[in-house]
């Protein structure tokens, strides 16, 4: 199947300048889908995930219109979803360092 990835403006220079990428893959989970994205665009990995493999605290990943923070994280099943959105969270951008949301 084809999964469409929506890339935020701040990361497009690491994705060939495109706002969307269509990748042929058969991901079972959101994490599988991101792996397909990182294979195409390796520089996105460290910007979306930290070195423990967790989604960065102020980046949100949506499967369809569901944020994976509330649906099982990277283990969220893709089911029939064909779209992944990577979107900077509104909680980012503060001047002060702040603890990661739990």
């Amino acid at each position: 199947m084809t999964v469409t990835f929506h890339i935020p403006e701040a990361l497009r220079r690491h994705a060939g300048g495109d706002s969307t990428l269509e990748i042929e893959c058969a991901p079972a989970t959101a994490g599988d889908a991101l792996e397909a994205l990182f294979e195409r665009c390796p520089a996105l990995r460290d910007r979306v995930l930290d070195e423990t493999g967790a989604v960065r605290p102020h980046v949100n990943v949506f499967v369809g219109d569901e944020c994976v923070r509330f649906t099982g994280g990277l283990a969220t099943p893709m089911r029939q979803a064909r779209e992944i959105f990577v979107i900077p969270a509104v909680s980012g951008g503060a001047c002060e360092p702040r603890p990661a949301p739990r």
Partner: protein, 380 residues
């Protein structure tokens, strides 16, 4: 005039320089100020790294380089060390994060707090201090970094606790002649020293108090804010604590209070004079609850007698309604003579002195909150 003489610093002949650089890291990017060696007029480049918090900057003039290093933290996309070889006009953007904890540690980088090029005899070494507290080293001039295992796996780590700014390793002081020795400081864990090139580290906080713990003199856990050292007298250190101002004359083994004549012994910033090992600068802050300059007076304090006395430096600085904060890395001295002394405020003001701190001038206003100020001289 004995009173005046007490404030004077020892001076060396004017050093030759093609110019002075001020590297200013802010909450929203980096600025580079450049001046001739006279340091009268400054031209600014920036902001670079727009939107990123830049807590650490350094100039690397070794091996023919003119490289600026910056610890840039995107609140969204993480922290990375970026470098510029054209004095701050353009920075590289590494595809892969170049400061990463090993997966087995379970730790994730939050912030790069300190960058320090190694000595001239190790021209590709760059040290990095980070949050969560750890020391990293680069052996390719800042392209990639690896953690120093002795601190990463330190048995005290589970009991280190973060301060308001995080659990940061913010001070890195290699011994100037013995590469096996180094002192680092962590907030809030305190001072740690190694004598074996980083394989093992011991807490070294004897005499430093921890106002916020039932035991005010624990082995570790102190909230040390900054430590400075003069290369000509490497066994002596000065330390600005979260309450407390200290000096060590035995390589950091023990610390004695030297807070005589300051309006508050709370503060963050501290800088050493380039020539005189007895001269140190600080900016006292009223308290941890009110982190502003006491009485609305913006004053740098200078000791010229190794902490036996401190005198305010106020000429050219606002003395009414100036409720400012100067963070731990936002005060710096250059290597010229007389010394340039510089500081930036959280309100975005950058001040400079080119006469050892005797008088000050506002260089820039309206910058984003200033997180670090580093001074460098370009080789003649």
């Amino acid at each position: 005039m004995p009173a005046r003489a007490a404030t004077r610093t020892r001076r060396t002949p004017r050093r030759r320089s093609a110019g002075a650089l001020l590297l200013v890291g802010t909450a929203k990017g980096a600025f580079v100020f450049r001046s001739a060696a006279a340091r009268k007029d400054w031209q600014v480049t920036g902001p670079a790294l727009k939107g990123d918090a830049v807590y650490a900057m350094a100039f690397d003039g070794r091996a023919g380089r003119r490289r600026i290093l910056a610890g840039a933290s995107s609140s969204h996309f993480g922290a990375v060390v970026r470098s510029s070889d054209d004095l701050g006009r353009h920075f590289d953007d590494p595809a892969e994060a170049n400061v990463k904890f090993p997966a087995a540690s379970g730790l994730a980088l939050r912030q790069v707090w300190q960058l320090l090029p190694g000595g001239d005899d190790e021209p590709d070494v760059v040290w990095a201090g980070v949050d969560p507290a750890c020391l990293f080293v680069s052996r390719d001039a800042g392209r990639t970094f690896l953690p120093v295992g002795g601190l990463l796996e330190h048995p005290h780590r589970p009991r280190w606790t973060p301060g308001f700014g995080g659990l940061c390793l913010h001070t890195i002081l290699p011994h100037p002649t013995d590469r096996r020795r180094m002192l680092v400081a962590i907030s809030a864990a305190g001072v740690y020293r190694t004598d074996d090139g980083g394989a093992s580290w011991r807490a070294s906080n004897q005499g430093i108090r921890a106002e916020f713990l039932p035991d005010r003199h624990p082995e570790f856990g102190q909230c040390v804010h900054k430590v400075v050292q003069h290369p000509a007298r490497p066994e002596r250190y000065f330390l600005q604590n979260h309450w407390g101002l200290y000096r060590s004359d035995d390589g950091g083994a023990s610390w004695a209070d030297v807070a005589r004549g300051v309006p508050s012994d709370f503060g963050f910033a501290m800088a050493a004079h380039p020539d005189d090992p007895d001269t140190v600068y600080i900016v006292p802050i009223e308290s941890d609850a009110f982190r502003c300059t006491p009485g609305g007076k913006l004053r740098v304090y200078r000791t010229s007698d190794a902490g036996r006395s401190w005198r305010p430096l106020a000429r050219g600085l606002p003395q009414r309604g100036a409720y400012e904060t100067v963070l731990r890395d936002a005060l710096a001295t250059d290597r010229l003579s007389p010394a340039g002394v510089y500081f930036g405020t959280r309100s975005g003001k950058l001040y400079a002195s080119r006469d050892d701190g005797d008088s000050w001038r506002l260089v820039a206003d309206g910058l984003p909150p200033i997180l670090c100020v580093k001074a460098a001289t370009l080789p003649a």
